[in-house]
Subunit: 414 residues, 2 copies
């Protein structure tokens, strides 16, 4: 049976919106969000809104669990944390009803969001859209508690980091929405962090790939996982402010090959570097180091291995600064078995230029290196991808680097 | 298939325990509750524990909703409130696991508790015990979030007042538990309020009917609804302290006819009286008054109608003092249509003596009246049931009345 027959007796757009914890932090803000949803509805659209937990709710619940035990059971933790989004979804539905709109909140389970059994980092396997279709057909605005789902056995799971973004994109994809809008406290995606570069401009558009690099390499506006999902389903994802009416930035397929320009500069201070000096250059060394780090849940970012001299080599890599103590302990254990020396540095930062077909274009790398050199900023490490060049520099040089590169690549010009 | 074959490879008792909001008010108390459950388990019993929301959680959630709207949507309100019990159930399961016991929390929906669609006061229609059986069979202690269930359409409902007590008794009945223990902050059921009568004693046992009268007429220890359910299924219900190891009071079928003595004295200050004077004594008057009160959700308690003089009569009844303003407004509207006068009094209280076969026994009423008369306590209204005599007296005489009656009926003696 064709579902759309029931939903759209007159042609209507379907828009999925996502509101983060800051946007629903208190009752006043929840009313604001309700008004925004109401306006979208009044424009003739059907609306599904995905919400995060209010403000610090999730942290408060984690604290509560940690009062009981330092290692809470993962299944119980997920049920506990899922209540945060349930609370905000019911309050938002109440708010819409006071504005005279028909609305209903659905938990992840009620919204048909099926996941794997990996508690705290479950993956969405499918969505049964029947209930949502039923509610939309009755003319209701549907509010879905983000970040959560259920297993086949009807156990509650949470989706981990970027969970609510992922819920929104997955719903938009499954229900064939026209677009997915992620509301946040910024105007959109900027050419650089506007707190560092005052004349940074808000991008009208950016490709999925560029946004993915940006989100991994500094900007936390949208979680990489949600971007990957949007890209897979070719779902246009808009990032806009929940406090203003500016159009925001559209993340979509784009036309990467013909654009061929630097789109944005990102930076990240939460970086630390570990160098293992004097390793015998033989197969299996990398595995010996990186397998135990992965087992401990520590993400390794940039990895650079020097050319071997006399069959000895140095290996340098970066981790999040938060992980440096745990990482160093693990690496030292491994290094001591091969008589290698471990040196760490937390006073570093990462600066990346991101743009379409960067490696095929000419002059990006040379402009980057010359600009930093002219400012006496020394480059420690370099890594590149198809659409990104990243340099590691001293921490106290990061902001200068962002500013001079933003000018050098003329990102302040429209 | 015989479920019990799977559950009891060796004979084990099944005990349902219920812990109120005070017993799980913080992490320390939750650990205490976990230890109590663990001890019951170590005694060789299977345990299902039903929990209320922590301390003031429910009030906090109501406040949150009222920040959005003075009249929150009932469906959304129920989903919102249900999170309180979910939170405490997960924390208790975590606590048991830290003590080395296998435990799992279940929401009302997961526990198979099916209800009517009456939001905020849903009735349990059935329980699908499959999931609980599965978990018990795996040797787990099952923690159930009280006060909640789901409709056929998978919408979350709450059971209203006494909800968690009702959840516990319903589960005990459905699963054929050996007993249901309701833990609270008192030692059990007392012959009178121990704060008023210092030598009040804790009862070893009390019949369902007596407890029902006690709970309606003052003592709030167990909700009448849960007692009625326990009586219907003949499920022994024990009231005991979650802070001590005293045996508490068992509420059961008893042997009412042979007991024939006063069991306890209850009192209630939350009473107000409405008198409608000068009503023409004709059929339909009571309906005209009490139907609109019932429609407004106001419970009417004691009703006394004087003998008619010249076809005119007076009608007096009591309501909870909290309801007096709303009730008076309704009654005045009705009374004005029949030229009757309305008089109210909030400075009254209710004192009841409760015991088996009271009306068949002799001397209870006369002892009651003589005792109060000797103390110069004037009786305003009198009502009786099979096992109860209630008098309405001036508010400032209530505590004296309780004390002298407790002595007169020798309730301080074992």
């Amino acid at each position: 049976m064709n579902k759309s027959f029931f939903i759209k007796s007159i042609p209507m757009g379907l828009i999925v919106q996502k509101y983060g914890g800051t946007s629903v932090a208190d009752s006043k803000r929840i009313m604001n969000v309700a008004r925004r949803i109401a306006a979208t509805r009044m424009d003739g659209n059907q609306v599904i809104a995905v919400v995060s937990a209010m403000g610090d709710t999730t942290d408060d619940l984690i604290k509560l669990a940690h009062e009981i035990t330092p290692k809470p059971n993962p299944r119980e933790m997920d049920v506990l944390l899922s209540t945060g989004e349930i609370v905000s979804s019911t309050l938002l539905a109440m708010a819409l009803k006071t504005l005279g709109f028909e609305a209903i909140s659905l938990t992840g389970a009620q919204a048909g969001i099926k996941t794997t059994r990996q508690y705290s980092r479950a993956l969405i396997t499918d969505i049964n859209p029947d209930r949502i279709y039923d509610e939309l057909r009755e003319g209701k605005i549907v509010i879905v508690a983000g970040f959560q789902g259920v297993t086949e056995g009807f156990d509650v799971t949470t989706l981990g980091r970027g969970g609510s973004d992922t819920t929104a994109v997955a719903l938009a994809a499954k229900l064939g929405a026209d677009k997915c809008v992620r509301y946040t406290d910024t105007e959109g995606i900027f050419t650089a962090d506007p707190r560092i570069v005052p004349d940074a401009t808000c991008l009208k558009e950016i490709s999925y790939e560029e946004m993915l690099e940006l989100s991994v390499y500094g900007s936390k506006v949208v979680h990489p996982r949600a971007i990957e999902l949007a890209e897979y389903y070719n779902m246009p994802l808009i990032v806009a402010s929940s406090f203003t009416n500016s159009p925001g930035t559209i993340i979509h397929g784009g036309k990467m090959e013909v654009r061929n320009k630097v789109t944005a500069i990102s930076h990240d201070m939460n970086v630390a570097k570990i160098t293992v000096q004097g390793i015998k250059d033989e197969p299996g060394i990398a595995a010996k180091l990186f397998v135990p780090l992965a087992d401990a849940g520590i993400s390794v970012d940039t990895i650079v291995q020097n050319s071997s001299i006399n069959e000895m080599t140095d290996l340098t890599f970066t981790v999040a600064e938060d992980d440096i103590e745990r990482a160093t302990a693990i690496v030292k254990t491994v290094a001591s078995q091969m008589n290698a020396k471990v040196v760490t540095d937390t006073h570093i930062g990462k600066v990346s230029i991101i743009g379409g077909s960067m490696l095929n274009g000419t002059g990006y790398a040379s402009t980057l290196f010359k600009t930093l050199s002219d400012e006496n900023i020394n480059i420690d490490l370099i890594t590149t991808s198809e659409i990104r060049i990243t340099v590691i520099v001293k921490e106290d040089k990061v902001l200068d680097a962002v500013r001079v590169l933003h000018s050098a690549f003329k990102l302040n010009e429209d």
